[in-house]
């Protein structure tokens, strides 16, 4: 088991390196850099001015070198422009060039500086991530129990009327992406045109104080889409367990249906949904981006959109590392958890 986890972690680190390199490559393409130079420096720069601006800030070094510097395994660049001013990756404003450390990359905790928010990337990412964490927590609280209940109820009597109804509900919910359900929910419950006005159509105020009013709609929107899928998986797994011999034996022995479901079937039926729930995380990340944009909740997903839309290279890189790590860690947990929960699977 230990070796299995170690191997998985090694693959994970390799994947993370590859992915960040791809993001680094795509964000550091010349047109992006040119746009950065023009927005940061001067809109009417000539091509040579753009080049010297980029040269002075170490942007024109070969890609692997830049990547190494950003990661913190290669020494940061130091350049001197014709006027004698020394610039370096590791030299902060007001710092003597001699005092600056040689390495300063992500590994040393230097995540760079956001051009849009005028703040350190690490600070932005951590505050925004906390806000999104709050959203995700409530999504999980709403989504997981309701999906499991839906699935178990539908799967315990396969083919019954309850099963048909609940399965239809879960199909409808998987067919409704967040931007559709969000629009419908806002139109019905928050717009002045329908006039119900039960909830608020924006969640901006939920960043400080989340109340039922301003937070329920975004949470529900994300939860709805993931719920159907988990419910269908639970239903399939439950339906399969209910056909097993030991369930029939228990029924013939005279155990009540209620007890069969709760004590015999449920535990075995919940193995498959566990992996599914963990694998939903990457997709929930998408939902978070859509919902935060739609409800104007300034969390992690909103930051991603701002960074990508405004060509904020270092912030975008920071956001990508975090999201890639979230995805990979959940995959790891799901694999390990699956092996752990299911004694029939062996790791070798």
């Amino acid at each position: 088991m230990g070796l299995f986890i170690l191997r998985r972690i090694a693959v994970m680190i390799l994947t993370a390196l590859c992915l960040t390199f791809i993001v680094f490559f795509l964000t550091n393409l010349y047109p992006n850099l040119e746009k950065l130079a023009k927005t940061q420096g001067n809109m009417r720069m000539t091509d040579t001015q753009v080049d010297s601006w980029l040269e002075n800030r170490g942007y024109l070094e070969p890609l692997p070198v830049k990547y190494g510097q950003w990661l913190g395994v290669l020494p940061g660049y130091v350049t001197e422009d014709p006027e004698g001013a020394v610039r370096g990756r590791c030299i902060d404003t007001g710092m003597e060039p001699e005092e600056a450390p040689t390495f300063c990359g992500v590994l040393q905790g230097n995540w760079g500086y956001s051009t849009v928010f005028q703040d350190g990337v690490w600070d932005i990412v951590s505050t925004r991530l906390a806000l999104t964490g709050k959203l995700m927590f409530w999504v999980m609280v709403l989504m997981v129990p309701s999906a499991l209940i839906l699935g178990v109820l539908a799967g315990m009597r396969e083919g019954s009327r309850t099963d048909r109804t609940l399965s239809t509900v879960s199909i409808v919910s998987t067919a409704t992406p967040e931007y559709v359900s969000g629009v419908i929910l806002i139109a019905v419950f928050a717009s002045s045109a329908v006039g119900l006005k039960w909830f608020k159509g924006t969640a901006t105020s939920a960043m400080e104080s989340a109340t039922f009013d301003n937070f329920f709609l975004p949470v529900l929107t994300i939860a709805l889409y993931g719920m159907g899928y988990i419910a269908r998986m639970t239903r399939a797994s439950m339906a399969e367990v209910m056909t097993q011999q030991y369930i029939r034996t228990a029924r013939l022995k005279g155990v009540s249906f209620r007890n069969v479901v709760l004590k015999h079937a449920l535990r075995n039926a919940l193995i498959a949904p566990f992996t599914v729930i963990m694998l939903q995380f990457p997709w929930l990340l998408n939902g978070v981006v859509i919902v935060e944009t739609l409800f104007n909740y300034k969390g992690f997903g909103w930051t991603l959109v701002q960074a990508a839309g405004n060509n904020d290279i270092e912030l975008l890189l920071g956001v990508s590392i975090v999201s890639v790590i979230v995805v990979l860690v959940t995959q790891l947990i799901s694999d390990v958890g699956y092996v752990y929960l299911n004694p029939r699977i062996s790791v070798t």
């Binding site: 590859c18 795509l26 199909i171 139109a187 999201s323 995805v327």
Partner: protein, 401 residues
């Protein structure tokens, strides 16, 4: 003129959709009459869920096709009217204040959007874009997934490990981040999407050539002319698809370049295929790993059949059931992805009537005027729901065998 009430709007919409109802009725009548002779497609009409799904999907397909033929649209989906901005459904149409255009349809059935365009016509015109890109992109993703997934499962070892690693790499990317990285004007300017198109679009060509080559390997007289013809036709299509008079690849002279894909669409297409292909790869690989151990594969190996013949003519036909079901689900997923791209205003031009972009336009004034955003949202919901139900019906019927 007085605005219409909902009791008048709904019958008018139903009348406007007459061609769709006729086409649906004909399709269903023919299919149910001959359902015993139509294989899996015919069996679909034994399941209520399958029929409901099929009806929803075909409704949108017919609406899209007839919309493109200009039988349904009431107004030009791009024409703006100063007087119709944010007007509620059923408002009489006037181009400017007090000026009724003669010959034009007298009402905006589902109201006007923030630029005074007809929401109903835009919804129908948007269906055409979605119905074109969704299935085609899924088909391309399947070609790529199958062409790579079968050998990965069949040969195993190093090839399998490296391809699986690559697939997992793409799958670990958050989809929206990938879209933002691929579909921005700066990246498009570097030509990366075109080069990706070059790689991704070669798979259908490779797939069909290997398929035919494996089948007619023993009949050189049929094989040579057939392959030459297929390569010539598909090769020309492939080259005119990727080479663009203004893009980075200009391999074909203008007179031979059959068509140019309009800006944005190619990028969107590539992004969607790229996101879907690894999942298809994993599914195909999983099914093929299972089928590989069957007796008929061993029998074919003993007969001395080549590896590609076994993969494409022994394994693939036996994997078709789950693949067809997954295809339906995946078209739905692709539609959702297209909508996501539109929702973030990526790729397609902002005035494009596709559903995602329309929802994006409409959401800005959602709490005051919900009517421009709701029709495309419900349209997308019903199409994806139809595809899901269709997949469910197909799964049920194919399991019954």
């Amino acid at each position: 003129m007085d605005p219409l009430t909902w009791g008048e709007i709904i019958p008018r919409i139903i009348v406007q959709l007459t061609p769709v109802w006729i086409a649906l009725a004909v399709t269903f009548a023919l299919s149910i009459t001959f359902k015993r002779r139509l294989g899996l497609y015919g069996k679909l009409f034994d399941s209520v869920i399958g029929m409901m799904g099929f009806a929803l999907v075909m409704f949108w397909v017919f609406a899209a096709v007839f919309g493109a033929m200009d039988l349904i649209l009431t107004h030009d989906p791009l024409a703006q009217s100063g007087n119709m901005k944010n007007k509620v459904p059923g408002t009489p149409y006037t181009k400017m204040i007090g000026e009724a255009a003669d010959g034009a349809y007298p009402y905006y059935l589902l109201g006007g959007d923030n630029l005074g365009r007809d929401v109903f016509s835009r919804m129908i015109a948007g269906a055409w874009i979605v119905v074109q890109i969704g299935p085609l992109a899924t088909l391309f993703a399947f070609m790529a997934g199958i062409t790579l997934g079968l050998p990965a499962a069949y040969y195993g070892s190093k090839l399998d490990t490296s391809l699986t690693f690559l697939a997992n790499l793409v799958l670990a990317f958050p989809v929206i981040l990938l879209f933002y990285l691929l579909v921005t004007p700066e990246i498009v300017a570097t030509g990366i999407p075109t080069y990706m198109a070059m790689v991704l679009f070669i798979f259908p060509l490779v797939f069909i050539v290997i398929l035919l080559n494996a089948r007619y390997h023993t009949q050189p007289k049929v094989r040579a002319p057939l392959l030459a013809a297929v390569i010539a036709v598909l090769g020309l299509l492939y080259l005119s698809l990727i080479s663009d008079s203004s893009g980075p690849i200009r391999w074909l002279p203008a007179w031979l370049d059959l068509f140019d894909i309009p800006g944005g669409i190619l990028v969107v297409f590539v992004a969607v295929v790229f996101v879907n292909a690894p999942t298809v790869f994993r599914i195909v690989r999983g099914i093929a790993l299972d089928i590989k151990t069957r007796d008929y594969v061993a029998a074919a190996q003993t007969r001395g059949e080549g590896p590609w013949y076994i993969m494409l003519w022994e394994i693939l036909p036996n994997a078709r059931g789950p693949l067809i079901v997954d295809f339906c689900l995946r078209v739905g997923y692709t539609t959702i992805l297209l909508g996501t791209l539109g929702f973030f205003g990526l790729g397609l031009p902002p005035e494009s009537p596709d559903w995602g972009s329309t929802i994006n336009e409409g959401r800005k004034l959602l709490s005051i005027y919900p009517h421009p955003a709701l029709p495309p949202a419900l349209a997308l919901l019903s199409l994806v729901l139809g595809l899901n139900l269709l997949a469910d019906g197909l799964r049920e019927e194919s399991l019954r065998d």
